[in-house]
Point group: C2
Chain length 322, copies 2
C-alpha cells in the first residue's frame, strides 16, 4: 500500500461532504467533536457493505461510495430523521488511488445532496468492506418506529420496488441485456434514500421501515413489531415500466415483493389520517402507493386476482394456490 | 448460517452493555434514538479490527469483543470525553454461537464497566472484521486535541508501553513462552482504555493522543499536529518488570517506542501547569510518567545515555549513533 493510512484519509476524505457549522472537529483527531442542536434527539445507524455479498466484485467505485452512505441514510429516513454527520470505516486489500477517488466522489455527491458532513473514519487493510455510521436529528419523541402500526392501518410503499433487484441481476449477467438495462442498473447502483418523505411522514405515519431485504419481508417485520399481520395486494404493487418491460408481469411482482436493495420506505397510516396524507403529500408528487393493510391475524399474505399467494416471514419462499 | 441476522442480534446484543435512561430506542429498529444531554458536545469515533491484521486468527472471542470496544473507548479517552453509546458492525464467515456468546461477553463486560449501552448494529457475512462506533459526551469547547501542544510542553505517557507488543509476539509464537507471558498476553488481549485519566486531563493537558501505532509514531503525530517536534528520553520510558524480564532492556525500549497496541494516553502539559498536574493527579496513583518535551525543531528524537537515537515519523525505523 503506497499511501499511509494518514495520507489516504487526508487526501480523499478530509473535505468530503457538506461543510457544517456544527462540526467542531472533523476528520484528523482521535474522535470527531459535534455540536448537538438544543433539545433534539439523535438517530444513529450503521451498515456494512461487503464485496461479493452486497455488491459484485468489480462494481463501480462511485456506486459503492454512494450505496454505502445511501443504505444508512435510508435507515434515518425510516425514522423520520434529518441526517447531519457520517463516519466511514473502509477496509481495502490495496489502496488504488483511482478507485479511492471515484469512491470518495460517489460518497461526496450524495453527502452534499443531503447536507451531510463526513466527520471521521478509519482505513484498514483486509478484504474489501465498507461500514458507514450516520447520525441525524429528530424532534424529541417524534421518531417513526416499526412498531407503531395497528390493525386496520393502511400500508404504503414509496418508489417502484423490484427495479434494484433486476438491476443487480443485469450487473451479474443473470438477466440478459435489454433496452431497460441502464435504468434498472442505476436503480441498484445509485439508490435514492427517501429522506424528505421520511421527515414529512413523522407527522402522518403510524409506523415505518426501509425496504432493504425485500418488500414482503420488511413489511412483515413492521407488522410483527406492531403486533399485527399484513395483507398485500399484488395488483397494487407499483411496478415500473422498465421492470415490466425487462422481465414481464409475474417475475416483476416476484422481484417487487422479494428482490431487496430497494431502499424505499414502507409505512403505515391510520384510517383517520388517510385524507390528510393524500392532501399534504399528494401520491403522484411524492411517489408512493397503497399496497395493503395491517391485520390482527399474524403473518404476511399476498393476495392476487385468483386468491392468496402464501408468503413467509423471510421473503417470497414459496407460492401455494388455494 | 443457521441463525438469521435478526435472531443473532436479538439473542446476543439486545441487552449488551449498560442500561441507560438516555437510550430512547435501542437495538431493533432502523436506527437507534438517543437523548443528548443539554448543552453537551458529542465525541464520535469508529475503528475496525480485521482478523490477521489487528488480531491473530483464532484469537479468544472474548478478547476480540473487548478490544473492538476498547480501541474506540481509547479514542474517546484521548479527547477527554465520557463514553455513552456504542454501535457494532460485525462481519463473520459463519455464526458460531459459542464464539458469539464469548464475543458478546467480552464486549458487554467492558461496556458495563464504563457505563456504555450498545444501541445498534449490523451483522453481515464475510471475512471476519469488527467495526465499533462509540459516542461520548464533552462539555462544550473542552475537547482535548492533538494540536494543542507548544514548544516547551512536557510530554507524558500512561501505563507501561511495550507490554502489548510483547503480548502479541507471545500470542503469535514469535517470543518463546516465559513466566511473564500471562501478564503480557493479557495486556494485548484486554487493553485498558484510560477514560478516567482522559476526563481529568481535560483541565490539565494541552494536547493528547492515544497510543495505538507505537509511542514514538503517535508522539510525533501529536507534535506535528501542534506544529512542533518532540524529544523523548529513552531512560524515562516506563518499562514494566514483566517486559524487562521477558525481553531485556534494549528490546523492551524498542517495543515501548514502536510496538503499538498499547491504548495508553500520550499527553502534553504546559510548564506552568506541571505542579497542578502532580498535585491533582499524583503520578504514582494515576500511573503516568514524563518521557520528554515538545520542541520548536520539527521531527521526533529519542535520547539515550549515549546521545541521540534517530527516529522517523512512522516509527522506530532505524538507529544511528552520533
Amino acid at each position: 500500500m503506497p499511501l499511509s493510512e494518514f495520507e489516504l484519509i487526508e487526501r480523499y476524505f478530509r473535505d468530503c461532504g457538506h461543510r457544517r457549522g456544527d462540526v467542531i472537529l472533523g476528520v484528523g483527531d482521535d474522535a470527531a467533536v459535534l455540536q448537538c442542536p438544543a433539545g433534539a434527539q439523535l438517530a444513529v445507524a450503521v451498515d456494512t457493505l461487503v464485496e461479493d455479498v452486497h455488491f459484485p466484485r468489480g462494481s463501480s467505485a462511485q456506486s459503492i461510495g454512494h450505496r454505502a452512505l445511501a443504505v444508512n441514510l435510508s435507515d434515518l429516513a425510516a425514522m423520520g430523521a434529518r441526517p447531519a454527520w457520517a463516519l466511514l470505516a473502509l477496509t481495502l486489500s490495496e489502496a488504488d488511488e483511482r478507485w479511492l477517488a471515484q469512491f470518495a466522489a460517489g460518497l461526496d455527491a450524495l453527502a452534499r445532496a443531503h447536507g451531510v458532513a463526513l466527520v471521521g473514519g478509519d482505513t484498514t487493510r483486509g478484504s474489501m468492506s465498507v461500514t458507514v455510521t450516520v447520525l441525524g436529528h429528530l424532534p424529541p419523541g417524534r421518531a417513526l418506529q416499526r412498531g407503531g402500526g395497528a390493525p386496520g392501518d393502511a400500508l404504503f410503499v414509496s418508489g417502484t420496488p423490484g427495479d434494484a433487484a433486476a438491476g443487480l441481476a443485469l450487473e451479474q449477467g443473470r438477466l440478459p441485456p435489454c433496452e431497460q438495462a441502464e435504468y434498472l442498473r442505476r436503480r441498484f447502483l445509485f439508490p435514492t434514500p427517501r429522506l424528505a418523505l421520511g421527515e414529512r411522514l413523522r407527522e402522518l405515519a403510524s409506523g415505518c421501515i426501509d425496504v432493504s431485504d425485500g418488500l414482503l419481508a420488511d413489511a412483515h417485520k413492521l407488522a410483527r413489531a406492531s403486533g399485527c399481520g399484513v395483507e398485500l395486494m399484488a395488483a397494487a404493487l407499483p411496478l415500473s415500466a422498465p421492470l415490466l418491460g425487462a422481465v414481464g408481469m409475474p417475475r416483476a411482482r416476484e422481484l417487487a415483493l422479494s428482490g431487496g436493495d430497494d431502499y424505499e420506505l414502507c409505512f403505515t397510516v391510520r384510517p383517520h389520517a388517510l385524507e390528510r396524507l393524500a392532501c399534504e403529500l399528494p401520491p403522484a408528487e411524492w411517489g408512493y402507493r397503497r399496497i395493503g393493510t395491517l391485520q390482527a391475524q399474524p403473518g404476511a399474505r399476498v393476495m392476487d386476482e385468483h386468491g392468496v399467494l402464501e408468503a413467509s416471514s423471510s421473503g417470497y419462499d414459496h407460492f401455494a394456490a388455494p
